[in-house]
Symmetry: D2
Subunit: 285 residues, 4 copies
């Protein structure tokens, strides 16, 4: 299985009934919507190809994701067409946590959407370490909405005092802020806390196959009409998009419009052993 280097995303996509698309690096970048993406989405609709956007961004609900795309110029996205790792976190909490309060590190906004299971939630800054009996779970939601100088310590000390399920709604360690630079993301902070506590938390998001399975079940929810062989996963990151897509049994395409640059794609594939079926510059043509 050597990756096929291809010129046209569209010519390959035509052979599939479903396309899963990563968001950052495929549809948009630090400057906004990637030029031509709106046309490609129209092309998919025109061809009757079902698509889903799979994103590790847990800070916004489906509705908010659609609003952002709308503001960037991708107008007609449906709420159901966006799937976030936060939805998996939400599903986990609703199945496993039946009482108590859920403590969280992140913004009120992200808490509202993920923790809407009827349970109360409490921001880390409001935790009183002497009074934690009623906290029944902890969630790493977002890299904003707290003071790094204090709240990471409180998080660690809470978790030293009480053993509860800890979930990480977005496992990405960083996200890009411009052409060169990145910023620490929730997954990085969670990693720091794991390392201090010598524990492993429960992580959601690509490359975990649960994310792909959620999308797979979603497109088959009415009737079982799509098989894995019908689906193409498209992403810019070997270690999340391609690894996860491969493991779930999908055909995968690496695009070079984001994290992976043309001049090191082959090297990274060889050194990681993560092999996309196709490599293409972008989804633009």
């Amino acid at each position: 299985m050597i990756s096929s280097r291809i010129d046209s995303f569209r010519s390959v996509a035509k052979n599939f009934k479903v396309v899963f698309l990563d968001s950052y690096g495929v549809l948009k970048n630090h400057k906004g919507l990637i030029d031509g993406v709106a046309e490609t989405i129209s092309f998919l609709r025109g061809e009757g190809i079902v698509f889903r956007v799979l994103t590790n961004d847990a800070s916004r609900s489906q509705e908010q994701q659609v609003e952002v795309f709308d503001r960037l110029g991708l107008k007609d996205l449906d709420v159901e067409e966006v799937i976030t790792s936060g939805m998996l976190a939400k599903q986990f909490l609703s199945h496993k946590i039946k009482d108590g309060k859920i403590a969280y590190l992140g913004t009120e906004n992200s808490a509202d959407y993920i923790l809407q299971s009827g349970l109360k939630h409490i921001a880390v800054r409001d935790i009183d370490l002497e009074n934690i009996e009623d906290i029944s779970a902890f969630v790493f939601l977002d890299d904003e909405g707290f003071d790094w100088n204090y709240d990471i310590d409180t998080t660690v000390n809470f978790l030293r005092r009480k053993t509860v399920p800890v979930i990480v709604a977005n496992s990405d360690k960083y996200y890009p802020v411009n052409k060169n630079d990145v910023s620490v993301a929730t997954g990085g902070i969670a990693k720091l806390c794991e390392s201090m506590l010598s524990k492993k938390f429960i992580h959601f998001g690509k490359p975990d196959t649960q994310m792909f399975n959620y999308a797979y079940e979603h497109i088959n929810r009415d009737k079982q009409q799509y098989d894995k062989d019908d689906i193409l996963m498209v992403g810019d990151t070997l270690s999340t998009d391609i690894l996860g897509g491969n493991k779930f049994g999908l055909k995968t395409m690496l695009v070079l419009s984001g994290n992976t640059r043309s001049d090191n794609a082959e090297l990274w594939i060889n050194s990681s052993g993560i092999i996309p079926d196709y490599i293409c510059d972008s989804i633009l043509k």
Copy 2:
């Protein structure tokens, strides 16, 4: 969520429509079938509780697993009631590897069942390192069927020369051989090779949620009749059975008839942060 210490597996199981059972440490141990397990299986059938055995043993097909249980005295197991990590490996290969030969480390027998996709397979000992163009994937199948002194070197050197998808059909690092002792398993050998190559292979089996999802889809294959809230996962190992069950959103029960002993269960739960919903001595009553 503090684990409930309970006396009777049956009294809890009655509240679920489905029970997933680990094999080693729950149904059998190094001496054979655990006394009373046959009665518990009859109880489940009598109550109309659906069950599946989820095992990381990829060396035997479903049919062979059933034969072994039959020989040990558990007579009426159905082939469909056993789900192995090897079945996931098989599914992956059939979706992703469409041509070439599949090289494997393991027994002919395990190769026959996992690699029956129409593709040819080749044992590591038969690989000619100067002639590897037609090998398109590599599978770690089993800890028997090869000579450790030679075939691990060949495996590593093949993978240094050619980048192909590498899958590990059983991620367990060791398996028990008697009350005290263990033996290196496929997952251990794969780990050694990963460490020599600085690569990560594709691992199947618990705690990966893909295993649970496979079982979940299986019980819902005719109609969508069971929800995650209907299912109890029972296992003896926190890091595979309970971690995976929790992450997939199932209720989980740790039994103390295998890897985890009564006197260190609480300690291990606290130090790992992996929390079963229930703890019970065994599934016997």
Copy 3:
């Protein structure tokens, strides 16, 4: 080699010519100097036993360490009797970095003492990412003196843009702030950055044997008068004090006045495989 559980530090110390002492958890704790420590230091002096304090605290110079001990009530410590991981960092920089500026994360104060090699230094907050040609090394010095919300991002982005030697003057991931709680230390932040960059930095401090060797050379600087068999290392932490002391070939004593509690000492020894020669409640009698 089973650890000997002993009642009296002094009775064992008498058999050695030199004692190396960890600072936090042995000499002092969050409340101040541990009661009776001053008497034990007097005992050592009275017996003619040479001692050194070996600490991973890189934020203060030897002089400042002595001042702190003085303020806490341990009056007669000599500057030469304290050895910090910062001194190793300083030594490294003076041998390896001959020109350019040294960027640092930490306080001005820690920078002043470690970076006094004639080279200029620059705090992370003052780095202009568009103008980094003259920065020739980076040092993680201290967990204070910067804004977590900004300066960690700058650190990572600087290190994405330029490959320079990166050193960590204190590898501890956290330090205790009271009986129950801890605070993230420099080593934790460095770990976060390593994980984001997929690189390994150069770490100084226990358990690295370089720290022990520095102390060993120091006591033998005039003439080679002490052998490894003459030295007892005393610490409260298996993974730093005892591991490092053992590896360097010293006899080691675990005291239970700090990180390791009496009720889990044996368990931690068995699970880590790090075995002190002696275990004692404290150095008080």
Copy 4:
């Protein structure tokens, strides 16, 4: 500190009083002695430059190493000029293990030289797991002299039953056997066992600074005549030779006659952050 790409090893070596040389990839390779190495050694002697060979090969004593070099055509090496990681293991055992038997995985020959401390030793194949009270330490010595199919299991089961100091005399995971291929080395087997036991053993050899310190003390054993600034470390591997040399504070030179090839040297330096002071094709001119 950007690496200087230089044409002539000799022109740089002339500026140092001491040169430390890695063995495999610098002096010899799979075909034997590298052409011209004998002349370079003569050059060093002629210039009065002291040198030491630092090797992670723990399977042979200094005398045996010299014999091998002699057989390969490097005639005049002195026993004192070769320093092996096995010598560190030997030193550790003599300081820390005062009674009992030392169990080992490796050849009789390697056991004879490392374990000559007056203590008895016992090969893994001779361990009776029911009778292990008198075994006081375990050493991973060599990748030969045992049956992989049995003795690794015995090693793991012994270490599950008894907590003793475990040392790894050679941390290398593999060694080259020809231009393309490698073979599993002791460090790889130790890593497998560590992973099965969830323990960390005590590793000797580069990049650990203890190896460099041993050599440093050796050249200064009569009088303190050489400073770190007087020494150049030359090796073919970034992660052992260069990392260790840098950390110890030596100037370092990467040669391209072994593990690191000319076309990926820069890439590996950037991705690892391990920066040699000099890069040179070989030590030949």
